[in-house]
Symmetry: C2
Subunit: 244 residues, 2 copies
Amino acid sequence: MLSKSQIKLITSLKQKKYRQQHGLFVVEGIKTITELLQSSFNLQKLYTTKSFKIDANNNKIDEILISDSDLKRISFLANPNTALAIFEIPKPKKIEKSGLILALDAIRDPGNLGTIIRLCDWFGIKNLVCSNQTVDCYNPKVVQATMGSITRININYVNLENFLKSTNLPIYGAFMDGTNVYQKQALADGILVMGNEANGISEPIEALITEKLSIPRFGDLQATESLNVATATAILLSEFRRRN
Amino acid sequence: MLSKSQIKLITSLKQKKYRQQHGLFVVEGIKTITELLQSSFNLQKLYTTKSFKIDANNNKIDEILISDSDLKRISFLANPNTALAIFEIPKPKKIEKSGLILALDAIRDPGNLGTIIRLCDWFGIKNLVCSNQTVDCYNPKVVQATMGSITRININYVNLENFLKSTNLPIYGAFMDGTNVYQKQALADGILVMGNEANGISEPIEALITEKLSIPRFGDLQATESLNVATATAILLSEFRRRN
């Protein structure tokens, strides 16, 4: 049986305010929980309807067996999995100002952020810098969409304008009217900024961009919507990496 | 007021079986409805809480004004928009066997298919061929994710194995262990096959691939998950197009 206070704590973690207050976040699904157990992230509580017994490193896990109906009460999903874990939010490490850094200016969709974190992992981007207006990376939908990649990327939330002002690195930005990225002979490491889903890169950030890049469009020029920000990020990260 | 039979028809269109039986599909949200009204798609019914009056071409629209509560009864969304439209499913045109064709082998996630249709539109891919195991493109979540692009792409559902057997075009496939796509000097037009989210390209289809391609991974080789199929499609379509 779950106590009322346990249920209250867990369901409060849907909200960023309480995640930050408690320094905790929720993960659901055996696959992602197992990935996190194998990482440096610290487990706080594991609620499960079937015993995990040991984690991937053969360590005994302190698990709390609960019923399906209890899981339903604490799950954030319409169709709950068999387990829900609470992990501690790790302290972000200092941003290394080397290599390629990805910066996000007010990305709002959890699925997009999750996909972008997974892309960082694939393309070996170690540092992801998010403006304070970007959706929280410990939002359950983001964690789910990262497929475990969240454990391998150093994510910092910052005042993006101040952060960009403090660096001498090249600052690239994705725009509809930038230089055709295919025609760039070289792309030096620096910071690549991707903008908000509806509005793109905001004006104060645009003023700090040293090179505007764009992905050429081949479809009907009148009609085609812009690319989704996660797919545009995929293409631009690929463009940076293929030149190495 | 909506009649019971109207409500029954609309809600039945959540299911592929009834979409096919009636030849109709549902679109919600003013932005996507407006995109579809501007296309060659035929409107069957428009239910709205606020009058559209005229469409983008200044034609009078035959709209049915309904209350918020009626919209709530027919909407597929948790938070309904202000309008819901029913359009006729268009007859797909014959697949043109020229240019670059994208083929999907059992893509199951509606968001992925929607994103891929939007990518086709951006990259000027006119023909999308889906295996019969691929999620229905008139699934409401797919339509929503295409942002109107669905009106500009010719989408055919086929027996993919038979389709690929009937062509002499190069057949590319995305694999974890294919040729590094960055190192290809040229990529001739042909058919690019993308596989299922969990299992990749199925064995019968793999046997028909003439060239396996892969996107190199730069992150930690042990840990990183595969790329999401929509982002992998974005990168590969970009690779085909940037060589032109």
